[in-house]
């Protein structure tokens, strides 16, 4: 007999969301210059969580000026002192991690299991890691006394709001830069809570500025002449526009963009582990992950066995209330993203691929999409080429390792890839042949602050994490 899970909701009481938030500029919260605001919703219920300021070009200018003013002292501070601020921030994040996890789940829609076990521990670890670099930059391999760039303009996406903030802010501050960060329009809250953490840590005014808003706010930041460094994580289309906009300037640019990761399963792979890896690869964070393993390349001889096991496993995934500790699949982040996923999934059917999803009841309110897989997918199909950024897996097959590599590399993207086989030499030769910045062998979607992350080809350039991540913020 099948046992049902009782609801196990995490308490919302741990987080206190104010009815409205201003912009965090020069150490103070303030309204937008033109008084504009926008609402942020909980994607699992469409409940309005709060109202936040819509930063204008004038606000961006004020934030850049505040960051510029703060830069002189901050960059001149002994590295050991900057380090201590970052260690403080890391510790406060650890202390407040339950609160932040619940907040993130509310604002983003992802399961509490993920914010609690993945996002928040990685956020704290990232600050802890880069804190230690602040007074060791002479030893980082960029020559003696490498210099900060100045003011970093940073624009981050909604899929890992606080983690992407950490990836941007921690190395920037450790190297002596000051920052103006624009969080995603649909997930501004954790960045605003981070502003409060900066206050608690006693971080000097103007070192971190948070300007909420939409794409126009981000564009104003990227194009601001007072910005010395632009760091962007998001779509490849926007990344290209940013690359064009900084052409002819001295702004240093790093881009972490889209992906269409191939997860390659060979016939000798441990099937049960591979199935878990496939599920983790494409259904972690509802597939709203730039490095998702969204193309499954399975060796023809084990296709049926693997797909049967995969479908069985998908039928056990629990979709629903993201605050429930048993939930595997949460809500899609926004109505807009849901519409995009639906349109691409529909194109898969229209182009002749075969759609399958487990029986799965979707909640009536909020934005939801059942875990879905497509078989009979060809390389020409849109669902094999375009980033869906949702819980949709496209299954293709291959016969030989060479064919697997050719298909995996047949993409404008080159962010991630997976390899499943018990044969060591095959892992290494395939890993060598893949044009991707991160290759997970017999695992998937693992992240660590010490491990450089970033893409080949149109997945962007520059690395975040590790010693490599310092380069983006140093004048080297």
């Amino acid at each position: 007999m099948a046992f049902e899970y009782a609801p196990a909701p995490e308490s919302r009481a741990v987080v206190d969301i104010a009815p409205s938030y201003g912009l965090f500029i020069d150490g103070e919260f303030r309204d937008a210059s033109d008084g504009k605001v926008f609402k942020t919703l909980s994607p699992s219920s469409e409940e309005v969580l709060s109202e936040v300021a819509q930063g204008s070009a004038e606000d961006v200018d004020a934030a850049v000026k505040a960051a510029r003013k703060a830069f002189e002292k901050w960059s001149a501070l002994p590295g050991a002192e900057r380090a201590k601020y970052l260690f403080r921030i890391a510790r406060i994040i650890q202390e407040r991690s339950r609160e932040l996890a619940v907040l993130e789940t509310l604002d983003n829609g992802k399961p509490i299991r993920e914010t609690r076990d993945a996002d928040l521990p990685l956020v704290a670890a990232h600050f802890f890691y880069y804190a230690g670099w602040a007074d060791k930059l002479d030893h980082a391999g960029y020559g003696p006394n490498p210099k900060a760039l100045g003011v970093a303009g940073q624009v981050i996406p909604w899929n890992f709001p606080l983690l992407m903030l950490a990836w941007k802010i921690a190395p920037a501050l450790a190297t002596g830069n000051t920052v103006v960060l624009k969080p995603a329009e649909t997930t501004p809250l954790s960045a605003l809570f981070f502003a409060d953490i900066c206050r608690q840590a006693g971080l000097p005014k103007g070192v971190v500025n948070i300007v909420t808003g939409d794409g126009t706010t981000g564009a104003a930041l990227v194009e601001h002449p007072g910005v010395d460094k632009v760091a962007f994580t998001g779509s490849t289309a926007v990344g290209k526009a940013i690359a064009r906009s900084v052409a002819g300037t001295d702004k240093k640019l790093t881009l972490e963009l889209g992906g269409k990761g191939a997860n390659i399963v060979f016939d000798d792979a441990p099937i049960d582990q591979a199935v878990e890896g496939i599920v983790n690869g494409i259904f972690f964070n509802q597939g709203q992950v730039c490095c998702a393993g969204s193309r499954l390349l399975v060796q023809e001889s084990i296709q049926d066995e693997l797909l049967d096991a995969l479908k069985r496993r998908l039928s056990t995934l629990r979709l629903g209330d993201p605050l429930d500790k048993n939930t595997d699949i949460g809500a899609i982040n926004s109505a807009e993203q849901l519409a995009r996923i639906k349109a691409l999934a529909d194109s898969g059917e229209a182009e002749g691929a075969e759609r399958w999803a487990p029986a799965c009841e979707l909640p009536s309110a909020g934005y939801w999409f059942a875990p879905t897989l497509f078989t009979n997918v060809t390389q020409a199909h849109r669902i094999a080429r375009e980033e869906i950024f949702g819980p949709v897996l496209s299954v293709l097959t291959f016969r030989t390792p060479a064919e697997a590599v050719a298909k995996a590399n047949n993409s404008q993207y080159g962010l991630s890839a997976g390899i499943w086989t018990e044969k060591g030499s095959r892992i290494l030769s395939v890993a060598n042949s893949l044009r991707a910045g991160v290759v997970w062998a017999n695992t998937f979607n693992k992240f660590d602050p010490t491990s450089p992350f970033g893409g080949y080809k149109e997945s962007g350039f520059g690395r975040e994490g590790g010693r490599h991540g310092l380069e983006a913020y140093l004048d080297v």
Partner: protein, 294 residues
């Protein structure tokens, strides 16, 4: 007795290991600093540039796949071949740049030494910029640099030979292939370098040398979907901006023009600009976790 009439050299492009003329049939007059005719150089077309990209792409697998030791030996061989033709290059550089013989010789010597410097780098750069990452979990995690692919280079305009070598050598040392547009007004040392490369075991297509107008050829390289990166060393501010905008279309890695003293220690920047970092994870299991393995 009458003086012997010298044999002129027909300067040709170097593409795919061969020496073609421009497919356009065009040439332009190259003079020394005093305006004296030196030679007619091919005036490359956009089609020549595309052909060069095809040749460079074809060469990527073999060159990137060669061992670092092998690449180092080949780069060293380039230095050997150049040393043997030192006098020729001193004369060409003196003519091209209006230098005295001794100053030209210093440029050529530095260029030869630069090949030696980069020959030694091929099997060291991975250890310097890559490494094991101590992740917080039972995983083997290794970051290694890999060549970006096909790199287009607008060579320095003034330093026709030392500058040229200083931009080509780092790109190929780390396993990329290159399409380089030589100095527009002083292309002859570059075109002669092709003859050295052709006899140095550098596989055809690894280095492709075009002469002509950077402003005419470089936009098709910057916009080319099969070019992975571009070095704008010899582009002026206006051209550089236009090329960066074109390069954004497939997110080429861009090395912007900057003031460079070509005689100074080059550092590693021109190598790392054209390297990607690949990070591979694998579970390690937990043998030894009990602490008794030592």
């Amino acid at each position: 007795m009458s003086e012997r009439l010298s044999v002129f050299k027909t300067y040709k492009l170097f593409v795919g290991g061969k020496f073609p003329r421009s497919e356009s049939g065009r040439v332009y007059e190259v003079t020394d600093s005093k305006g004296k005719w030196l030679a007619n150089a091919p005036l490359s077309s956009r089609k020549d540039a595309r052909d060069a990209v095809v040749a460079a792409r074809k060469a990527t697998g073999g060159w990137a796949g060669a061992t670092a030791y092998n690449r180092g030996q080949i780069l060293y061989r380039v230095a050997e071949m150049l040393e043997g033709r030192r006098d020729q290059f001193v004369a060409e550089v003196a003519d091209a740049e209006g230098l005295s013989k001794s100053k030209a010789a210093a440029q050529v010597d530095a260029a030869i030494d630069r090949w030696v410097w980069y020959a030694g780098w091929t099997d060291k750069i991975a250890q310097v910029v890559g490494g094991a990452n101590p992740v917080a979990g039972p995983f083997f995690n290794l970051s290694t640099p890999e060549p970006t692919g096909v790199v287009a280079v607008v060579a320095p305009q003034e330093s026709s030979f030392l500058g040229l070598v200083s931009v080509i050598a780092p790109v190929i040392a780390v396993g990329n292939t290159v399409v380089v547009i030589a100095s527009e007004k002083a292309p002859l040392p570059a075109l002669s370098l092709g003859e050295v490369l052709a006899t140095s075991d550098v596989p055809g297509g690894v280095v492709n040398i075009l002469s002509g107008k950077a402003a005419e050829i470089s936009p098709s390289l910057a916009a080319h979907q099969d070019v992975n990166a571009i070095d704008l060393a010899g582009a002026d501010a206006e051209l550089s901006k236009a090329l960066q905008i074109a390069a954004a279309d497939n997110l080429k890695r861009v090395l912007r023009p900057q003031a460079v003293d070509w005689s100074a220690d080059p550092g590693t920047d021109r190598m790392t600009a054209f390297l990607e970092t690949k990070t591979v994870w694998h579970p390690t299991g937990s043998l030894g976790a009990g602490g008794s393995a030592y």
